[in-house]
């Protein structure tokens, strides 16, 4: 910036540029979070509204009831396994795309499902899994009785993996593109076998992308309520379903806010761990 700009003029420019956006984030991101915090400390009125007394009772209820501990554990468990399967499917795919002559087209093939409406992608699996669906059409064609695949945990897993796969492939691809392949040749020259060479020379270079992709899949997979709602048929309650229930038919906004705070706390804890291992810059790269 030119030195001639007076401090007052500089302040005016900053306010003009940053002011509106910052104010928006303050009003619609920070303030709602604070309201949620206060609401989580309140109680449920007779009509479901938020009333005093204030206290930690909602949190106490959440952490002392095995039912809720089970729900949060199940959400983390399903999120974790879905993420593992996403990695297994997506990791080789990113390498294949990066090495292909048609990488732009292949990349577009990953981007299209990424931008396709989330509900449509979940809905598609109902069509595949339902009683008159694609899988049962195959099974019955061989003369076997149709299977009850919906609602089921299997369907929830498949749809979760399917939904978040592109979220993993895209950041990982960005890392794979930047790989220094000379290190692989060096490993070969030093007599390493292919698998060992890959593990020692290539895999470590993909760790940042692996981490970023992991978080981009794990966090939304733990928080989702739509997939379990539509494919789990109310049989599988995840933490997202619990929150939705409190703000829907259960009409307990105070408890719902407390569960949301717990979920948010888990996410922030995960990001804090990530920032510690990847350094401050890591967060920037992530998003």
């Amino acid at each position: 910036m030119r030195e001639a700009t007076t401090p007052k003029e500089r302040l005016r420019q900053i306010l003009l540029l940053v002011g509106p956006g910052a104010l928006w984030l303050l009003l619609f991101v920070l303030v709602p979070t604070l309201i949620m915090l206060v609401a989580s400390l309140m109680s449920r009125g007779s009509l479901g509204q938020l009333v005093p007394p204030f206290g930690l009772h909602n949190y106490l209820r959440f952490f002392t009831d095995p039912l809720y501990i089970e729900i949060i554990a199940r959400s983390l468990w399903i999120g974790l396994w879905a993420t593992v399967f996403v990695v297994l499917l997506g990791y080789p795919l990113a390498f294949y795309i990066a090495q292909s002559r048609y990488k732009e087209v292949l990349l577009l093939l990953v981007v299209i499902p990424f931008f396709t409406n989330f509900l449509i992608r979940v809905y598609a699996w109902i069509v595949v899994f339902q009683r008159e669906g694609l899988i049962n059409a195959f099974i019955t064609a061989f003369g076997l009785p149709p299977a009850d695949l919906l609602p089921s945990t299997l369907a929830v897993y498949v749809a979760t993996v399917y939904t978040y796969l592109p979220f993993f492939v895209l950041p990982l691809y960005a890392t794979v593109e930047r790989i220094d392949w000379r290190q692989l040749e060096a490993a070969y020259d030093l007599g390493a076998r292919p698998l060992r060479a890959f593990w020692e020379a290539i895999f470590p270079q993909t760790i940042p992308g692996l981490f970023a992709g992991f978080l981009l899949v794990f966090i939304p997979a733990v928080g989702t309520f739509v997939i379990a709602d539509l494919l789990g048929g109310g049989k599988i309650t995840l933490v997202g379903n619990l929150i939705q229930l409190q703000f829907g038919s259960a009409q307990n906004w105070a408890f719902g806010s407390a569960v949301s705070m717990v979920l948010m706390g888990l996410v922030l804890f995960g990001l804090w761990l990530y920032a510690r291992t990847q350094g401050e810059k890591g967060l920037d790269k992530l998003v």
Partner: protein, 259 residues
């Protein structure tokens, strides 16, 4: 080894596209139930276009997407320029605040905004849950994405270009309009495109901030899916997938021309 990788990759692509292709195929199927193809028809599309409610939901969806994209693109672009070009107090805090809508699960974002609208309505009797509140909610997560995309573009720019404009006597406004803005335009367009698709795609935040009479297409799909699958929804989904592909192709072409 290479062959194995290629086989694996194409199986994953098949996994990505099989469900979508099934829906598109069934949208042209005469039979209302099941996946057996009994004959080709455009009936479901014709029914869809004759359904006035669907047109209303489509209009709602587009109003929300267009208005929220315009506002968030302007605010996000300004914010990105301010964050990159100036150092000021609270900058660090602002950066962290920017990450919140990106990393927090959407159900948390949705209920926190519902709480906000509820508290404000209790206090001053306004706003009712409507298209207006959906738009406010969408802008709140779009801003973050636009800012991050535009900021990435800005960081690639040579600050000397702006310095040169100033040395030649341009006012800050002229510098911004005639030098900075044209240079970051690809980033701004990419940010706007992302914001637009995020809005079209959003179900969860919309679900919590919508009121009576403000049904959008994703809300409609959700409520019909809860009742069961239908060929009309197949047709609607196929059209939306087609629209997504069209937007992406246009975006790719635009991007290539500018860079």
């Amino acid at each position: 080894m290479k062959r194995l990788l290629s086989l694996y990759a194409w199986l994953v692509f098949a996994f990505l596209y099989l469900p979508i292709l099934v829906i598109v195929a069934l949208s042209f199927n005469q039979s209302r139930f099941g996946v057996r193809f009994t004959g080709f028809t455009f009936d479901w599309y014709i029914r869809l276009f004759n359904n006035e409610r669907i047109l209303e939901y489509l209009t709602n969806t587009l109003i929300v997407a267009v208005v929220s994209t315009v506002v968030s693109t302007i605010l996000g672009t300004l914010l990105a320029v301010g964050l990159v070009r100036f150092q000021f107090r609270w900058q660090e805090a602002l950066r962290y605040l920017l990450y919140v809508p990106v990393v927090v699960p959407d159900v948390v974002m949705g209920i926190s905004l519902l709480l906000l609208f509820d508290v404000v309505r209790d206090a001053i009797g306004w706003p009712q849950l409507s298209l207006f509140t959906i738009i406010l909610a969408h802008i709140s997560f779009q801003i973050a994405y636009v800012t991050l995309v535009v900021r990435a573009r800005l960081m690639l720019l040579d600050p000397a270009l702006e310095e040169a404009a100033k040395d030649l006597g341009a006012t800050p406004w002229q510098t911004f309009r005639e030098v900075t803005l044209p240079l970051i335009m690809p980033g701004v367009m990419a940010g706007a495109l992302l914001a637009f698709s995020l809005s079209l795609d959003d179900f969860v935040v919309t679900f919590f901030t919508a009121g009576p009479g403000s049904t959008t297409l994703p809300l409609y799909i959700y409520s019909s899916v809860k009742l069961g699958v239908s060929p009309e929804i197949h047709a609607l989904s196929s059209l939306m997938v087609g629209l997504t592909i069209l937007i992406l192709l246009l975006g790719t072409l635009f991007w290539r021309k500018r860079v």
